[in-house]
């Protein structure tokens, strides 16, 4: 039996800065996961991933990552993806410094 599809967001690294970005419903790359499109349909997810991967001049390494609907938009479910929304834990560098 096929595994049940869990909600996803499309994420990648920005081409120039290399920082984590997420794809929005209106085809922007956002640095805030809460603005990302939460994908609940597998076929739609596959299609969106192909579209994302075609934008090679903006990003690198696009993939689907698990997420859940939170109060203010999608939230990561795995700690690795959570770290990507914040930055490293040893310095206040990366997103935690830029978004706050």
């Amino acid at each position: 039996m096929a595994r049940k599809f869990t909600p996803k967001v499309i994420t990648a690294n920005a081409l120039l800065g290399g920082d984590a970005v997420w794809l929005t419903e209106d085809d922007r790359w956002t640095r805030d996961i809460r603005e990302a499109e939460l994908i609940t349909d597998e076929a739609h997810g596959d299609l969106r991933l192909l579209e994302a991967q075609a934008r090679a001049h903006e990003i690198a390494g696009a993939y689907l990552a698990d997420a859940v609907a939170g109060r203010n938009g999608p939230e990561p479910t795995h700690f690795r993806e959570a770290f990507r929304t914040r930055g490293p834990s040893n310095y206040t560098h990366g997103k935690q410094a830029e978004l706050s």
């Binding site: 690294n13 479910t77 795995h78 770290f83 834990s89 040893n90």
Partner: protein, 556 residues
Amino acid sequence: MYVYNDFDEAFVRERVAQFRGQVERRIDGSLTEDEFKPLRLMNGLYLQLHAYMLRVAVPYGTLNAAQMRQLAYIADRWDKGYGHFTTRQNIQYNWPKLQDVPDMLEALADVGMHAIQTSGNTIRNVTADHFAGAAMDEIEDPRPIAELLRQWSTDHPEFQFLPRKFKIAVTGSENDRAVTKAHDIGLRMVRNDAGEPGFEVIVGGGLGRTPMVGKVLRDFLPKADLLPYCEAIVSVYNLLGRRDNKYKARIKITVHENGMEKIRDLVDARFAEISKGFAGHDQALLEQITASFAPPAFVIKSTDGFEAARLANPAFRSWTDTNLSPHKADGYAIVSISIKKHGATPGDATSDQMRVMADLAAKYGHNELRISHAQNVILPHVHKSDLAKVYAALREADLATANIGLASDIIACPGMDYCALATARSIPIAQDIATRFDELKIEHDIGQLKIKISGCINACGHHHVGHIGILGLDRAGVENYQITLGGDGTETTTIGERAGPGFSADEIVPAIERLVTGYLDLRKDADETFLQTYRRLGMAPFKTILYPSEDKADAA
């Protein structure tokens, strides 16, 4: 120290120009990421969790003051004002922007440095004993050989697409400070019966998911045969090594699967075939290189001031007890600068600290610095009469932590704070353990203890050869830390043994504390180290200490 000749200079500049063009083509969309990735990796540029990462080679861990200052400049100009020294004696910048990397490489070329072959399935930066040229127990300085290997392996056309990465380490001493038995090729200088220096050649060592201790391929290889012999080994591996499965592609698996006899026969045959082709050119080159590593002009002066300062200043005395090693020249000492301040990130130095260390090397250290695989910085040649001044300057720069070889001198890979491959974080665990031992004020009482932490099975943090090894894993979406005990990375290399089930991020620091305080009760006397106690008693008592509740459950 070796200085680039016209050939090196032209080669590195050309590489920078090529890469500049490649970056431009990536940015303007002419190259896809799939096309660009192998090109950037050939130049040491990774894409990590939050940013790109540039890994710069520090050949055999040796730097001069100008190079260290340039590393500081690069950190300020294009990164966040610091650099991370690695277990392969390299430096990594965690925040470069893609469009800036060609300028960073140009700035490196200005001081005779590069990032070539710090990634990819090539022969990587050759590492060496960080006390090379200074150690009292040394037969010869291993760096001329390391430099010869660097020149030979750089852009070697036969070895740009090996089955997997290939790491060589070399030491000139019987006491192995270069972890040679955990390398694809380890070269340990020894003397034969006639007293001539040569190399014990070790192959097939490595950590990672299948840790193996290297085995001796040749007991004694004359120095003159070294380069063709190494080429024969890599050449045999290049054909025989597996390309069907990247987890079975390292030479350790090739040796394991084919057996040492077969490897030895093939290497000997290949050596017979190619050695004549070297026609002595390598030896002429080695002679030139060796001349550039002539020892500095050591001075002879009184060390009375040193002894007086030691008596007068207990903090200085403590630092000299832990951070100095014996030097081959009278009146000199090897200074290890700890980049492991309690609670700080292991191996991270700010640009200001780099400049202080560069200035000290220029003023008191015959213009030399080393990066150790333990992620510390070494001033290899300091006269004892200058040590008090060196210490004062280090203290000013927050670099005077007296903990070399102690519990808080922890090796830690970047882990999931930076690395895209990591399965858990390493840095916060190292920070918390070091902070805890500092609070307890017992690390000097504990004595020699090597704690090494890796954030994934690839073992960049050398956890397999830590007296206490910690491996961070992802267990059902939660960070989990496995402990191994009894590892050793010296000439008596041993792979540590897994203690049992892993610990959560909250449990791991108390577990390490239990383990170490428990050792204090188990040891015969204050001179018996953690590793010696473990070897004497085995795993059982340590297991009881680590898993007390299970023990009770068994008894019930």
